[in-house]
Each structure stands twice: as structure tokens, then as C-alpha cells.
Symmetry: C2
Subunit: 122 residues, 2 copies
DNA sequence: ATTGAAATGCAAATGATTTGCATTCTCAAG
DNA sequence: CTTGAGAATGCAAATCATTTGCATTTCAAT
């Protein structure tokens, strides 16, 4: 079966989205209303197939986004708001890592913590 | 009261450690055995005072480490093992972020995902 | 149609962390 | 020294996001 209608629908939602989504957001957007565990299982499936990626922050749920995108994040430690940006310098390090750690890199996570415009002066 | 004996003990454990520790590891190391919630509350307190930092990965618990250290991580998506390294290029980006997002950076998180030496060929 | 493997729904379990509340501690004021 | 208020602690229960077990359904191949 593999890419069932739920999974396809969920993948579409994620690929269309301009920002990373949580499982709950995906669940709510989905008009055919699968079960919550189906959403989680679909997300796991899609991530294993490398069609989507996910990231967790200090608290709150994971965020999911299409593997076609490469995001980095600004995570507000006050309100939890995330913003995305895509300027990336990580590749400079990959060779260094491989040689020194024999660690096979598949991805990297890079985000700044701090205060967003709203929380900055509260 | 502020820096009570539990909190001081916990801070010492973290500062002495050569690697980031989980709440549970800290709890077990602590010879005076405070309550688990005391450990969590102490960690929260110490992080608010900027004496320690923490990072979460995709699953599993948070890791805590001294603010005097600046770590980056290699997170194995297979076994969850973390390794640390400290070569850092993030500061190149901070100015860019500040100008473009009005986001006040307090910290950044950067880690590679992949397979560690053991899991690579399993 | 029949069958077997995989996907789904539902409810209960899980793991890490947090919370409410009663108790205990600390330390400055009397 | 005693006291009393505010903070810290212990304990048990709650919480949140996610996962799991199990019974049922679906689908594709025979």
C-alpha cells in the first residue's frame, strides 16, 4: 500500500505549507479527518522515506516540513514562536566532521534562540 | 535563599561533567538524593540564571551543560547517542539575523544528525 | 471471492516534565 | 531566642505530545 490516501494528503499539506507544521495543525487542516495516530504514523512513515523532516525545540511539539525545503529557525524562548530563514553555512563543516568523528551526516539542525520582535521589549 | 545546597550541588555536577547530562543522570549522580521535582526545579532555576544551558533532540530527554562551555552536537538518529564538538561558525550569521529579523539572539543550537560510527554500517 | 500483509481507529500506555498542595526550611524582624 | 513570611522541598497526581496494543478494515495479488 505504502503511500495511502491519508499519507498522500498529509504530504501534500506539508509540501504546500509555507511554514513547518505541527502534527496537530496537520490534523486540523486535513479535511478527511484521519485519526490522530494515523497522522503520527503517517508523519513517521514520510520521515523514514525522507519525504519530510522534523525538528523539536525545547518544549512543545515537533514541527514538520518538506524535505524539498531547507529551513533554519529562530526560536523565541519566551513565547515559543518560530520563524524560518534559509541562509546556511553548515556545509563548510561537514568535511571536518566526517574526518574527525567518522560520523555520517544526514542532516543538520541549526537555530538561534532569543527573543522575537514582540517579546524583546515586553 | 536562591542558590540552595541542592542547586549548588547540581550546578557543581554539571560544571564538572565533561559531557551534557540528562535530568535523570544528574539525579542519580547526586549523592544527597533530592526529589526528582527538585532536580527539575533546580535545572529550571539554573537555566533562568544563565548558569546552565539545555538542548533537546528529536526524542528522549533534555541535556544540560554549563554555560561556560559552548557545545555543538552530533546526534545519531538511530541510537540517540550524542557526541559533542566545539568548532563554531555561527557568529558569522548573527549580524545578518539581527538586521533582517529584529530577533534578539541569546543563543544558538546547531547539531548534525546522522549515524555514528557504530550505527553506520549496522 | 479469498487471503494475507499492511493501514487504520480507538483507547490505553508511555516518558519526560510540570503542577498543586501540604510541609519544611531559612533568615531577618521583633 | 521566637516568630512569621516567603521560598524551597517532597510527594502524588496531572499534563502534553507521542506511541503502542489490539481489533477491525482495506487493498492488491492470487
Amino acid at each position: 500500500m505504502e503511500l495511502t490516501k491519508w499519507r498522500e494528503e498529509i504530504l501534500k499539506i506539508i509540501e504546500k505549507s509555507k511554514k513547518p507544521l505541527t502534527a496537530e495543525e496537520i490534523y486540523k487542516i486535513n479535511k478527511f479527518k484521519p485519526n490522530f495516530s494515523t497522522v503520527y504514523r503517517a508523519l513517521k512513515f514520510l520521515e523514514e522515506k525522507n519525504l519530510i523532516k522534523s525538528i523539536s525545540f525545547d518544549k512543545g511539539p515537533k514541527y514538520f516540513y518538506s524535505s524539498k525545503k531547507h529551513y533554519h529557525f529562530l526560536y523565541c524562548t519566551n513565547c515559543g514562536k518560530i520563524e524560518v530563514f534559509n541562509k546556511c553555512i553548515a556545509s563548510q563543516l561537514e568535511n571536518f566532521i566526517y574526518k574527525n568523528f567518522k560520523f555520517q551526516i544526514t542532516d543538520h539542525v541549526f537555530y538561534f534562540k532569543g527573543l522575537c520582535e514582540n517579546c524583546k521589549e515586553g
